[in-house]
Amino acid sequence: MTAELDPRPEALPQRVWDSVQRDQLPPVDDRDRMRLVMNNLVLHIHPSKVSKPTLRFTYTWGLGGLSLLLIAILAGTGVLLMFAYTPSPDQAYSDMLALQSTVWYGQLLRNLHHWSGNLLVVVTFLHLLRVFFTGGFRTPREFNWVLGVAMLLLVVAANFTGYLLPWDQLAYWAVTVGSSLMSYVPLVGEPLRNFLLGGPEVSGATLTNFYGLHVAIIPLTLLGIASFHIWRVRKDTLSIPHNVDGSLPEPNTKVTTVPHLVSREFVFALVMTGLILMWSVWVNAPLEEAANPDHSPNPAKAAWYFMGLQELLLHFHPTFGAIVIPVLALVALALIPYQRFDLSAEGIWFRSRRGRQMAVVAVIAGLVLTPALVLLDEYWLDLPELLPSLPTIIANGWVPLAALLLGLLGFYEIMRRAFRATACETRQSLFILLVVGFVVLTVIGVAFRGEGMALMWPWEVLS
């Protein structure tokens, strides 16, 4: 019997390292680089080679990756925060004070978590816009778009449930106002709200419910859908960016993911982490006085990402403002990729040169028309008074919605004819008009509503 030589290295540390990292580092050739991606759990979310044009930063702006980075920061800081927090009305607020004053880096930790959470809402929304404007949802990626919409809603839900946890006045009343929107859902709204809140109003049971949702149920769901989403991106490959004339910005050659893509992602993640860290060092997350159910602030506003909805409620009957319009908008959003799409526009920002011109017009229209309609309704048009014989749900719900839909159809026809545009380009301009309208409503709600939700002029806001 002859002894067979053990092929492993002589040195024990090297043996240990080789058992962890099987591939050679650094890789010496493309074959090594591709193997590194394929054999690595994290890097495997990428293909081993990517099309060179897709590396262009201004095509994706790194928004999908930034969302993942923010989720990672949120998970890390969230777990640490759990060590210093008790979800009880008696304890929660004092825990926040202790976190900010006695826990080492507690304030920074909370700031990081707070600002990352808010930024995630913005970034996922921008990611959705990016995918829309570059036609990234075209076949076979339709369902991945729907998953993206679902994740945006989950991110908002995560943010909303986290909003309550500090148990301060801001949290208590924002959640009170936000959850009350649910009551407008016919039949199931009130029971659903009571189920979510653990009773008819925000209380200790609500805190327990929201905590469970915030730290377990929503993150796990988000993780599951995000994994599926990324897997689909990987399977469907990235859409290739094109210049506005349809040409490729550079030769469509494939390069290895390591280092071309990974190095870019790494630098971008470092820069963004640095920026978030700096912001969190300088700007503290808000914490008001302890929650007082008997003293509502005036005005009592929902969280900022619900202010567009709250503003809608000021102009429409609640059933329409809180239910019909948002549901219509969400359904329309989910169905976008199932509309006919001009395949030649894929990968071109705003579809075409004409599409870009139309986008500018739509933005201007949204910026002008939305405040104009708000002012019209605020100061001149009082539909329930004008139509006293009709039920309010008709006079202040169906009638203004019908007028709005007619206006949107009119806008669609005018844009199509004025620009002799394709349906794809015209739909894009309509989408832009609605998005700008929603953003303007949110800004009005956040910045231009004062006591009693009265509309304030800019000079009143500044004074």
Binding site: E201, P299, G397
Partner: protein, 306 residues
């Protein structure tokens, strides 16, 4: 095809709304034909403060007052010609003729009889007394069927508060009983649930130590210092009772979860009072959204004002 059908529905909706608006806002032929009632007999409109929300509140209150219109009905019919809009605010100096369970018969300065709905008598009787022959100033609104009092000021300055400025009955527990405040600028608060049993109300005699935006800090007769938070600041501040350090006050309220919930505060020297909660302990500053028709949101949660 279905696109055209949708457009047709939308166009028809707008066309129908325009027709209804024209019909609804045509001046009444009968009103145009009849002479305007004696101007001096008409309560003075003081502005459209109550709006359509007042209608809803009026309807709620009307349940109490339907059978008490009596001779006032004829006068109301006459007054219809001079009060253009339902829910229009008005005020008048009147002499109390007869008190009922939910309202009172009065005479205007020129002798015209009128019936005014006051809501349940237990509520206003807690605030003061009314006797036949009293000369009082009534602030309220007219909703097309009936006159409703929002507040009654007696000759000695005593104020009986019956409704909020949006027309919401103060006895009804805030949002849970209001149909909507068209111009309701009350923000939030109010809960539809009973907060306290009648026997749990307590009365404190106290001295004001400090006045702040949220309420008062007081020292009770037994030397205890309490910081009282009065809920929505604008709600109690609009009741225009000025407190100052050193004022003797009587406070009615109840203890809940270790906190004292203030129901009303009376300034001993002047008898002025602010009302914060109804007899069930429910905050009075709660209110529904402006669109009406969906009252009863209650809780601390009415999100929309306008």
């Amino acid at each position: 095809m279905w696109k055209k059908a949708i457009v047709a529905v939308l166009v028809l909706t707008i066309a129908a709304a325009v027709v209804v608006a024209v019909i609804d806002n045509l001046p009444s032929a009968s009103a145009a034909d009849q002479p305007v009632a004696e101007a001096t007999a008409v309560p003075t409109a003081t502005g459209n403060r109550f709006g359509a929300g007042g209608q809803a509140a009026g309807q709620a209150a009307g349940q109490h007052g339907q059978d008490n219109q009596g001779s006032g009905a004829a006068v109301q019919q006459e007054l219809n010609q001079s009060v253009d809009n339902v829910g229009e605010a008005w005020s008048a100096a009147v002499t109390v003729a007869e008190l009922g369970d939910v309202g009172m018969h009065v005479t205007l300065e020129d002798g015209t009889p009128l019936y005014i709905e006051l809501g349940p008598s237990f509520f206003w009787q807690e605030q003061g007394t009314l006797e036949p022959g009293d000369i009082v100033t009534v602030d309220g609104f007219y909703n097309g069927d009936q006159y409703h009092a929002a507040s009654i000021t007696k000759a000695d300055g005593t104020l009986l508060a019956l409704r909020s400025e949006t027309g919401q009955p103060l006895w009804s527990g805030g949002a849970s009983n209001a149909g909507g405040a068209q111009h309701g600028d009350q923000a939030n608060g109010g809960t539809g649930e009973v907060q306290v049993a009648p026997e749990d109300w307590v009365t404190l005699d106290a001295t004001v130590l400090t006045v702040n935006r949220n309420g008062l800090t007081i020292e009770s007769a037994d030397g205890e210092t309490l910081a009282l938070s009065f809920g929505k600041a604008s709600f109690w501040q609009e009741q225009a009772v000025q407190f100052a350090a050193g004022d003797a006050v009587t406070i009615q309220g109840f203890w809940q979860d270790g906190q004292f919930q203030t129901g009303q505060v009376t300034k001993v020297a002047t008898g002025e009072r602010i009302l914060l909660r109804d007899p069930n302990g429910r905050p009075l500053w709660g209110g529904p959204g402006r669109q009406g028709g969906n009252g009863g949101q209650g809780g601390h949660s009415a999100p929309v004002t306008g």
